[in-house]
């Protein structure tokens, strides 16, 4: 049993014991705070040494459950960095199989993986990277029908999908369940990143109320691998910020990144009173 699942098991056990004690109206003793193991201190030492990071931040990510939607160009750096950082449970969702044309930008898949389900290919690499965490591959396409069930119980969702329909579905589900969300998109050599705390900051639908009519598709427009790597890395960083609070996320707006000119532009977008996804939160 991995440290993460062992911790989960003991937490569940502790909560059962605590409920039983409460029922018996006995005073509830304080559970000892979880401690990092020697192996965890070694593995995560280069982030633990940061002034902003520490045992509390590390335990926050270790105990977190994050769903990464898409195991492609954005999902690869996101899942790799989150697994590396020690996120305790990572769900990785994709219903595609690896194609030769994916390999220039999708860092989790290699030539022998062509034809393999992306979720499984990704999970295998992530388990190699960090065997102490739980990786759950799902060969599923996120849509308006299943989004609510997929995001339920997650501490955070990172949307690495490549369609507006999926982004709107995931945004609506995360808003309804009040699950924090990191959205992003990349095309050519530019992209954007946005963090969302439902009910507290602008959601994706607040910033983009309607799908642009002329939105190009990846297959038409193309994308350079490193551009996707930059945007995915920013998305992973946002995820770590939201999980730990070590730095303020890119919220109430988005970061527009033009990698041809190396310009990073912070665009403000507030909550909308008429937002169908979050106005009532």
């Amino acid at each position: 049993m991995s440290d993460a699942s062992r911790r989960g098991f003991f937490r569940e056990l502790a909560s059962v014991v605590a409920s039983a004690r409460e029922a018996a109206a006995e005073p509830e003793p304080e559970a000892p705070p979880p401690e990092l193991t020697d192996a965890e201190i070694e593995r995560y030492s280069r982030q633990l040494v940061l002034p902003e990071w520490g045992a509390a931040a590390q335990l926050a990510v270790t105990e977190a459950s994050v769903l990464v939607i898409g195991a492609g160009a954005l999902g690869a750096p996101v899942a790799l960095y989150l697994a590396g950082a020690g996120v305790g449970r990572i769900g990785i969702l994709d219903d595609d199989a690896v194609e030769l044309s994916n390999l220039h930008r999708q860092l989790l898949h290699f030539t022998p993986d062509v034809g393999v389900a992306k979720a499984e290919s990704a999970a295998a690499k992530l388990r190699y990277l960090n065997p102490d965490i739980v990786i759950e591959p799902y060969q599923v396409h996120a849509d308006a029908e299943n989004a609510a069930a997929l995001v339920e119980g997650q501490n955070l969702v990172v949307d690495c999908s490549d369609s507006f329909a999926t982004r709107y579905a995931v945004n609506a589900a995360c808003c309804a369940a009040r699950v924090p969300l990191v959205e992003a998109g990349v095309l050519g050599v530019s992209g954007l990143v946005m963090s969302i705390k439902p009910g507290r900051t602008a959601c994706y639908r607040c910033a983009f109320p309607v799908e642009p009519h002329d939105a190009p598709r990846c297959a038409d427009a193309g994308v350079l691998g490193p551009a996707a790597g930059v945007i995915g890395s920013l998305q992973a960083l946002e995820a770590l910020k939201l999980l730990t609070g070590v730095a303020p996320p890119i919220a109430d707006g988005f970061l527009q990144v033009d990698l041809a000119t190396a310009e990073f532009l912070r665009v403000r977008a507030g909550r909308r009173d008429d937002c169908p996804d979050c106005a009532n939160l």
């Binding site: 990092l36 201190i41 070694e42 030492s45 280069r46 633990l48 040494v49 002034p51 520490g54 045992a55 509390a56």
Partner: protein
């Protein structure tokens, strides 16, 4: 007498400060920690990092005394 001691003499940078930092995080403000290290890099780096983090630091030989901020 300090209530806590930590021996980092077998460690190298940055693990020397990682272990010290994690120990300090477990302590209450005003509590003291005696860190034993070997002469060399740690004796230079750990007091510096502790001061930068705002803690009170004094060094005697190869023992670093840190009062948590």
């Amino acid at each position: 007498m300090p209530a806590r001691t930590l021996d980092i003499s077998a460690l190298t940078c940055p693990m020397t400060w990682v272990r010290t930092k994690l120990e300090l995080e477990r302590m209450a403000p005003g509590e003291a920690l005696e860190v034993r290290c070997s002469a060399g890099e740690a004796l230079d780096q750990v007091p510096r990092s502790a001061r930068e983090a705002g803690h009170g630091v004094s060094v005697e030989g190869t023992t670093i005394r840190i009062v948590r901020a």
